[in-house]
Structure formats: structure tokens, C-alpha cells
């Protein structure tokens, strides 16, 4: 049981490539913490720094209050599950799981007891005599998990452990892992680029981009209150509609003016105006927060035309062309519209996000 602290950690490769840029994080004891970001954002490097596989160029790492920055991995009491599972191909499943205990010179009967206990917990008891090559992807993933669990480490580190599984198995494993973590209450740092994984499993998420932590928060915070346009665009499927707009005031009304449309945001003016540094903005609105209507129901509607309809069964994604922009709209069930229909998009101003186009930072959340 331990918390993990990263204090102004920076990692520069080869003197030039900044993989991790001055990150400060506090991962609480027993927390399921997800590092989320696109490939190359530095999330895996951050995880490897916690594991001790990379030495930070600057900054300190603490596990359970102890400065471990200069400690080798074996003295940190962390366990890691790799994307490739990293099972030793020449050992049986049993020996793979027993390996961390064996090299700690634990007595044989104690090793045996623990290996069997973990194997039972993960439903791999009848695979113990097999070699990794004889296992399916899902089974290999469980063995890798067992090898990490058997030691009862202070911290679990996961590096995209589900990305090699097929979609169905991945969703099962997601729930299984979450449940397991809640039962064991071991502090977990989990790296993924899959926002659905992050949203479903995490207690808290750190969204990373270009080596920096953009936002840290609960899945709800990240979804509802993105502090940066990058977070807004990264979370959600389909992703948030983001359109370059300008802030325009005319005749005591306030508009967001996009390419070929104007949205009246007068009720928000008192909030937006004092925070503006300039008028170049990005407007964001999630597909699930837009509504298609036949005629304007209030001033916050803009005219458009149905462009593409993507039925998904339980829901339908309707692409509506407004001016020169396409807005994706998520509608439950089927829709009555056809391509080419003239419609209006109704914006719920409480759920319209506005970002500064230069800094990407949120102006209203």
C-alpha cells in the first residue's frame, strides 16, 4: 500500500527529445489512476520512470513517501504488466508466475501456495503446465497479471495491457481488472490511449499530450469540465465538435461567428466577456448535446442540412452541415430525416464549451 508522487519529473532522450516535460502528479494510495493520451505523448515513459526502467533527467519520484528516484526497479516493490505480456517463453506458466518469488529466494512451499492461490483467482489453474506459446491472448494476459499479483507489490503498473486483445475480450477484461483492483486495493497506474478504457476503469485520469499533463481529474471531470481543447477533443466517441469561431458583439447581442453561421450566446456574455484575451475562439459541443429540430425553438438555433446519416442500431450519428462546418449529432435510435433535409441545430448553451484558439485553454467550462 503506497501512494506515488512525481515531483517536476522531466525526461529528455538523447539530449533533445523531450518525452516527459515537467510532470507533477500525486497518485493516491489504493487509487486506479490512468495516464491517457495519444501515442508519443510520454505516458509510457512516465510509467517506466515510476518502474525505474528509465531515470528521469530531472525531478524526483516517491513511492510510499520514500524517494526512489535513484533506486533500481527491484528495490521499488512495483510490478508491471507489459503490452506484450513479456512472458518468458522457455518457462511454463507456473514458472513464469513463480519467477519473482524464486529470485527472492522464497521457500518452495510458500511459492507453491502463492502461485496456486493467484492462479485460482485468475482462473488459470489448469494452464500451469503449459508454455506461453500454447496459450491464447486472453490467457497470456492473465498469466502476466498473475505474475504481477503474486508478489503483492506496493504499486501495479500497466502498460496498455488490453491492447493486444480482441474487442470483445477487451471489454470483459476491463471489468475484470477494475473489479480485481477494487478488491485488492493496490495502487495502480494504468497507461492507455483508449479513452473508453480510461473512462470505464479509472478513479482519476491524467490526460497527457506532448510530454505534458493537460488535465487531471475524475472521469466525470474530464468529460464534463475539460480545461483544454485537447482534452475536449480526445474524450468522447464520436469526439466533440470543435469549430473555429470569432467573438462578435452587435446591437447588445453576442454571437459566436463561424464559417457561414452565427450562434447567439447572449446569455453567456457576462461570463465570457471578462475572460476574453482576444476574439479568436474555438467552440466545442459534444454530439450528444446537440439536438436536431425542424424549426427554431429559441434564439440558439442555427440552420443546416443533413449531410450523412450513420446508423449504429441503438443510436444514430447524423452529420449536419452548418455553413462550411460539419457537426456530428448523436441521436438515440433511428432518425426520421433524410440526406439533404433542411433542419435546425439546437445548442444547449449550458453545454457549449469555449476555448481560446491560441492557448487552447477553456474560457467557460
Amino acid at each position: 500500500m503506497a501512494d506515488v508522487k512525481l515531483d517536476h519529473v522531466t525526461k529528455i532522450f538523447g539530449g533533445r527529445v523531450v518525452a516527459v516535460d515537467n510532470i507533477t502528479l500525486h497518485i493516491r494510495d489504493g487509487e486506479f489512476f490512468v495516464l491517457l493520451g495519444p501515442s508519443g505523448c510520454g505516458k509510457t515513459t512516465t510509467l517506466r520512470i515510476i518502474a525505474g526502467l528509465e531515470k528521469p533527467t530531472a525531478g524526483r519520484v516517491y513511492i510510499g513517501g520514500v524517494d526512489v528516484t535513484d533506486l533500481p526497479p527491484k528495490d521499488r516493490d512495483v510490478a508491471m504488466v507489459f503490452q506484450s505480456y513479456a512472458l518468458y517463453p522457455h518457462m511454463t506458466v507456473y514458472d513464469n508466475i513463480a519467477f519473482p518469488l524464486k529470485i527472492r529466494k522464497m521457500p518452495k512451499h510458500e511459492i507453491d501456495r502463492r502461485v496456486r492461490e493467484v492462479a485460482r483467482m485468475l482462473y488459470i489453474e489448469d494452464l500451469l503446465d503449459r508454455k506461453p506459446a500454447q496459450l491464447s491472448g486472453g490467457q497470456q494476459q492473465r498469466v502476466a497479471l498473475a505474475r504481477a499479483l503474486v508478489r503483492q507489490p506496493k504499486v501495479f503498473l500497466f502498460d496498455e495491457p488490453l491492447s493486444n486483445l480482441d474487442a470483445k475480450l477487451r471489454i470483459e477484461a476491463r471489468a475484470f481488472l477494475k473489479r480485481l483492483q477494487k478488491e485488492l486495493k493496490i495502487t495502480t497506474v494504468y497507461v492507455t490511449h483508449d479513452q473508453a478504457e480510461a473512462m470505464t476503469m479509472a478513479d482519476r485520469i491524467a490526460v497527457m499530450n506532448a510530454g505534458k499533463v493537460i488535465q487531471v481529474g475524475t472521469p466525470d471531470d474530464i468529460y464534463w469540465k475539460p480545461t483544454h481543447v485537447f482534452v475536449a477533443g480526445f474524450i468522447g466517441a464520436p469526439s466533440m465538435n470543435l469549430v473555429d469561431v470569432s467573438y462578435v458583439e452587435k446591437e447588445d447581442k453576442v454571437y459566436l461567428q463561424g464559417p457561414g453561421f452565427e450562434l447567439d450566446i447572449t446569455p453567456l456574455a457576462s461570463v465570457v466577456r471578462p475572460r476574453l484575451k482576444h476574439t479568436e475562439l474555438i467552440m466545442g459541443v459534444r454530439p450528444e448535446h446537440l439536438e436536431i429540430v425542424d424549426r427554431p425553438v429559441d434564439p440558439h438555433c442555427v440552420p443546416g442540412e443533413v449531410y450523412v446519416i450513420e446508423p449504429l442500431g441503438a443510436e444514430t450519428i447524423v452529420n449536419v452541415r452548418v455553413g462550411d462546418s460539419i457537426f456530428k449529432v448523436r441521436v438515440l435510435g433511428a432518425v426520421k430525416y433524410n440526406v439533404g433535409d433542411k433542419v435546425y441545430l439546437h445548442f444547449d448553451l449550458n453545454r457549449v464549451y469555449i476555448f481560446d484558439r491560441k492557448t487552447g485553454e477553456a474560457i467557460i467550462i
Binding site: A51, A79, Q83, I103, R147, R151
Partner: protein, 288 residues
């Protein structure tokens, strides 16, 4: 169409068949000569059965050569293989592979005759080794390495270790680099020390490196000739005789062609003893 097919067959298979036929013909011829009484500059092909074999095997030179070859295999093959593996691992750990590989491969690249000559200088009474020993205060150990029957053989064996180490390093460097990096990292996170990583993760996964290095190095030790020829000519006395050198002495010094051929056949049989178990093991492992 038909004609062109025949032509392609001749172009590609012709040389291979020719070489194979000549190769096996030579072996056959050698076996035949080993059973004749060709024991002078004049060719003589009278069949005498296995008499030459009995003569050769009973000679003192053969006995010394065989023991020397066995020592050579043991003292050359094992250290070269294991040193190669260990040094390859250490080189990879330093991350400066290109430089070290070049340094270690240089001896392998130069001709054994050149290497032999170099080491004759090194081993000479006032050569590099003795000078070095005297410099570090171990002058009492200085000796004429190649003229002392107690050290001559081992001095030569050392030259071959020096020369083949680069080869062994290359083989194992490739084998180690073929191991998935994350396996090593997983072991490190699991708590393994550098030695434990080597023992439990790397060693079991470089078996194919042994499969390449061991038979090739063993054969080199069995066939060793040039370094003996250049450095000692089998001396002092016959203390550094090896089978290949004995064969040369018999065939081209004494002109006892039949005896030389008999030694050659014995060498061939010994090579097969060394290679066949390994080859079958390898084939079974790789092709089930």
C-alpha cells in the same frame, strides 16, 4: 521451351552437381589412397587394406596429436563460447556495441598466418608478453613460451581463443539482441539482478547461439593447422603436434601419401563424431 528448361537446369544445377561430385570423388579417392602403399614420391596404388591405419594409430606422433587436439577442443571451444556470450552481454550493456565489436572482431578478420607471426613476436623471450610481465614485477613468470614444451601448446591455444573470440561474440550478440527487450525489463522489474537476468532470461534463450558456435568452434579446433605450422612447426619436439599438422608432415614432408590420407580420413570421422549429434539435435529441435 524444352531446350531452355534444360539450359536453366544446366546453368544452375550444373555447377552444384559438378562441385558435389568432385567433392565426394576427392573424399573417395582419399579413402582409396589411404589403403594403398603410396609411400614415396612415386605414385603407387597397390591395395594394402587397413595397414596404414594401424601404422598411423600406433605411432607416438598420432597419440600426442590426438591428445593435443582433444585438449585444444576443450580449452578452446568452451572458453571461447562462454567468453563470447559473457562479453557480448557486457558489450550490449555498455551500449557502445559498434566500437567493441570492431575491436574484438579485428583478430578474426586477419589471417591466421599473420596472427601466428604476430604472436611469435609476442611470445618471444624478449617479446611483448615477457616485457609486460617484467614491467609489472612478475619477471619470474617470464619464459620462452613457445620453446617451452610445458607452455607451447597452451600458448597456441590462447592464440586461437584470441582469434575466434570475435566470431563467438558476434554470434551471441545477435542471439541476445533477438531476445524481446521487454522480457529483460520484466525480469528487472520482477526483481532480478544483472546476473539473474543473465542466468534465467538470457542464457535459456541463446541456445541457438550455442548451436552455431559450438560445432563451428569445435571443428576449427579439430582442424587447426596454420597456427602450429607458422609458430612452432609442431615443436619443441613433437609437443605441439596436432592431427592436421601430423597429416601434413606425413604426406608432404615424408611423402607418405597413404599415411597422410589415412590421417585425413580419421580427421573426417572425428569431425562427423563432433557434428552428427549436434546436427540431429538441431534438426529435431527446429523441424520437429
Amino acid at each position: 521451351m524444352k531446350l531452355s528448361k534444360i539450359r536453366y537446369f544446366l546453368i544452375f544445377m550444373g555447377p552444384i552437381l559438378t562441385i558435389t561430385i568432385i567433392f565426394y570423388f576427392m573424399i573417395g579417392w582419399c579413402i582409396y589412397i589411404s589403403m594403398t602403399d603410396w609411400r614415396s614420391a612415386r605414385v603407387s596404388m597397390k591395395f594394402v587394406g587397413l595397414r596404414n591405419y594401424f601404422d598411423v594409430v600406433q605411432s607416438r606422433e598420432f597419440y600426442v596429436s590426438l591428445i593435443n587436439n582433444i585438449q585444444w577442443i576443450a580449452l578452446f571451444m568452451l572458453p571461447t563460447t562462454f567468453l563470447g556470450l559473457v562479453i557480448a552481454y557486457l558489450i550490449i550493456l555498455t551500449g557502445k556495441e559498434t566500437i567493441f565489436r570492431t575491436i574484438f572482431l579485428l583478430p578474426t578478420a586477419i589471417s591466421m598466418v599473420v596472427a601466428g607471426t604476430l604472436w611469435v613476436w609476442m611470445y618471444a623471450t624478449n617479446g611483448g608478453i615477457n616485457t609486460l610481465l617484467r614491467m609489472i614485477g612478475l619477471g619470474s613468470l617470464a619464459r620462452p613460451w613457445l620453446s617451452d614444451p610445458r607452455t607451447a601448446l597452451y600458448a597456441l591455444i590462447f592464440v586461437t581463443v584470441w582469434q575466434y573470440l570475435g566470431f563467438s561474440i558476434i554470434v551471441f550478440e545477435a542471439a541476445i539482441k533477438g531476445i524481446d527487450r521487454t522480457l529483460i525489463e520484466a525480469a528487472v522489474v520482477d526483481g532480478a539482478s544483472g546476473f539473474q537476468v543473465f542466468r534465467y532470461v538470457i542464457l535459456p534463450q541463446v541456445r541457438h547461439g550455442f548451436l552455431i558456435a559450438v560445432p563451428l568452434l569445435g571443428l576449427s579446433a579439430l582442424k587447426v593447422f596454420d597456427v602450429v605450422f607458422v609458430a612452432t612447426r609442431g615443436g619443441p619436439g613433437i609437443s605441439t603436434y596436432v592431427l592436421a599438422y601430423y597429416m601434413w608432415v606425413k604426406a608432404f614432408w615424408w611423402r607418405f601419401m597413404a599415411d597422410g590420407a589415412a590421417i585425413a580420413v580419421i580427421l573426417l570421422l572425428l569431425s562427423l563424431v563432433l557434428v552428427i549429434p549436434y546436427a540431429t539435435y538441431a534438426l529435431r529441435r527446429w523441424f520437429g
